[in-house]
């Protein structure tokens, strides 16, 4: 599926004011050469970028929000006059929840379409699949998902949190405010939950507290009665849950049915994998009382976020919800725009050089800044799930947390 969408054109006044056609051509040629020395798909009035997410297959559930956020950001940037006076045109490709397809489509975007940037990927597996392509053909990927860390590529800007940012603040909070002493770690069986729980375990043990259980269930597992019994037997203060996908729904419904009322906080449930998007499928009434640690919640009360939520709902319908990753995806085009304008060029190398230190004061999550390691400085918040599927933000870190994708002592 390939769609090229061209947005509102704004004829350049300076072009009309030029006297002769020859002069105009000569001038635009030099201008063109300055901002684009490597043959990217940039004209005097437009610049092409790629959007690469799954809109079909299993992952479509999760990735739809990211696509919507990236389109919204691009439309807003175009309405403000575009990037370096050029309107952004996007080419959308479908990764189809299939990692080799992601690789193939990213190659197509970089080699055939010569896009100036790609906003896309969701799972770590898809990112790992496209990484060699982006490095070989020198592309720029803006990756929105919170993930396990242990990666830092010159060709990727990670707009979601890496694991330590999300995990450590959350655990510190339950220890300090809820007096938690023992933890039960639970996750789906793949790289992100396993790496995240490794970090969580190290941190819990550093604090001198105990991990009473650590378990993984295959992706798509739908029966959690046995592990719920085990949890009841071990009586941990906190269930630390990193279950994903359809399993999430099964886990929380069965937890409730087994008589564990999360509003009583005995045990308390802390998750890093359930955003507002996932609550839609789980049902707010089955999630109420749980805590989530991430950088963004739709209910954040700042003005940037109010404007963002309003624009998002106006564009995609009033019933849509916005989760952490959707917001991180929204940052991608804006961060890219800022870097291009700082560099005064679309050249990948110049954009990369300009990226560290780029700040965004208009981010819905408040304020973010790109670290030299290509991750974002960001705050971590704790949300308390309400019955209507939204979270109340009950805590946010005072300082921005430094991204640390290769945490020493945590591997």
């Amino acid at each position: 599926m390939t769609t090229t969408v061209r947005h509102t054109h704004q004829p350049k006044r300076w072009a009309k004011s030029l006297l002769g056609l020859a002069a105009s051509l000569a001038f635009s040629a030099t201008l063109q050469a300055e901002v684009n020395t490597t043959g990217l798909a940039v004209t005097d009035t437009t610049v092409k970028v790629g959007i690469l997410h799954s809109v079909t297959g299993t992952m479509a559930i999760s990735e739809t929000g990211s696509v919507q956020a990236e389109m919204l950001a691009i439309e807003q940037i175009n309405a403000m006059g575009g990037v370096l006076g050029r309107q952004i045109e996007y080419i959308q490709e479908d990764g189809a929840s299939d990692w080799p397809t992601f690789a193939e489509k990213s190659k197509k975007l970089l080699v055939n379409d010569k896009v100036a940037a790609v906003f896309g990927c969701w799972t770590s597996a898809s990112r790992k699949a496209v990484l060699p392509i982006f490095e070989q053909y020198n592309g720029m990927l803006y990756y929105p998902t919170f993930y396990e860390g242990l990666e830092q590529s010159p060709n990727v800007i990670y707009t979601g949190q890496e694991a330590t940012q999300q995990i450590i603040a959350g655990i510190d909070w339950v220890v300090k405010n809820k007096g938690a002493k023992s933890f039960y770690l639970l996750g789906s069986d793949y790289i992100w939950p396993r790496t995240s729980n490794k970090i969580a375990r190290k941190h819990i043990e550093k604090l001198g507290l105990s991990v009473v259980g650590e378990e993984y269930y295959p992706l798509g597992h739908t029966q959690f009665n046995s592990v719920i019994n085990k949890i009841k037997l071990k009586k941990p203060d906190v269930i630390y849950a990193i279950v994903v996908g359809g399993s999430n729904v099964a886990f929380y419904k069965q937890l409730k049915a087994a008589g564990i009322d999360m509003t009583k906080e005995k045990p308390l449930v802390l998750t890093i994998s359930v955003t507002e998007d996932e609550v839609l499928g789980i049902g707010g009434e089955n999630m109420v009382g749980a805590y989530a640690a991430m950088k963004y919640f739709q209910s954040l009360p700042n003005d940037n976020n109010k404007a963002f939520v309003e624009a998002f709902k106006a564009r995609w319908g009033k019933d849509t919800v916005i989760g952490d990753v959707t917001q991180a995806a929204y940052l991608g085009p804006w961060l890219w725009k800022a870097a291009v304008e700082k560099a005064g060029s679309f050249d990948i190398d110049k954009v990369r050089a300009a990226s560290p230190g780029i700040e965004l004061t208009t981010a819905p999550e408040g304020y973010v800044k790109i670290h030299p390691n290509h991750h974002l400085w960001s705050k971590t918040r704790i949300g308390h799930a309400r019955a209507d599927g939204q979270y109340d933000v009950v805590f946010e870190t005072e300082q921005l947390i430094e991204p640390n994708p290769f945490p020493e002592g945590y591997q």
């Binding site: 559930i61 597992h221 019994n229 009841k232 359809g246 789980i282």
Partner: protein, 308 residues
Amino acid sequence: MFAEYTTSELLSIFAMQGVAGLILFSVFVLMALGLAIIFGQMGVINMAHGEFMILGAYVTYLTSELFSAYLPDYFSSYFILAMILAFIAAGLLGALVEWLMLRHLYQRPLDTLLATWGLSLILQQAYRTIFGAREVGVTLPDWLMGSYPLTDTIELPINGLFVMCLALGISLTVGILMYRSRWGTQVRAVVQNRPMAGAVGINTARVDRLTFALGCGIAGVAGSAFTMIGSTGPTSGQLYIVDTFLVVVFGGAASLLGTIASAFTISQAQSTMEFFLSGSMSKVLTLLFVVFILMLRPQGLFSLKVRR
């Protein structure tokens, strides 16, 4: 590993673990019955079984939305109606599929596998187009979502009990239909010898259509019941399909009793191991166990003794 617990704690945990095993058993029976009827009686490998289940789940979702919008007073009892509607919807779709597609493929059993797999993709995309790519949240009446405290420490999940009763009811109904009704006699006759059954005046085409529709209808009911314990999304059916085939093949394809015995064996093995080991490891061991048994008994636990 149990040293640190008191006897009463251990007892209650074992009781609850037993209940968990029984619930898993019921879930397996519900999943597999529809497939066992279709696979066992007709020899059709229905890869779209999971999607028929999810159709039932979506029907339940629609019914709950309708009730909360127009009949909020009766919301607590919508679930029963939803299951009946799920049965009818999945059964009708099954009959349609049989008429349009499968009846042309009865001589080519491997092609039914491809055709129904294609059907499952079509249905998934249809759900995605109609209901959206995201999972939908099915609001359940409160009486289904709690737990029943038997003692201080033993709590029985009500949805689990509900699934158990449903599995029992449906198994009995299917058993009676198969072995005590005229239609059941016809089905068994067709399974044993199709040309002969036709020769004695049984309308084999009609029997096939009804059998397929019944199998799909039961899948619909199962899907409806699973909204209590699982997710409802375009691809949720895929979560069940592997376990379903495992149960049916392990039990011996042509035997309903075998399906039930196999569901019991696998569920107890899995839930016991899940308690002592981790989730992924117990899944691996369960699959190894099934592979081992199937090497010894390729025809499954129970097999029908028929002269072919």
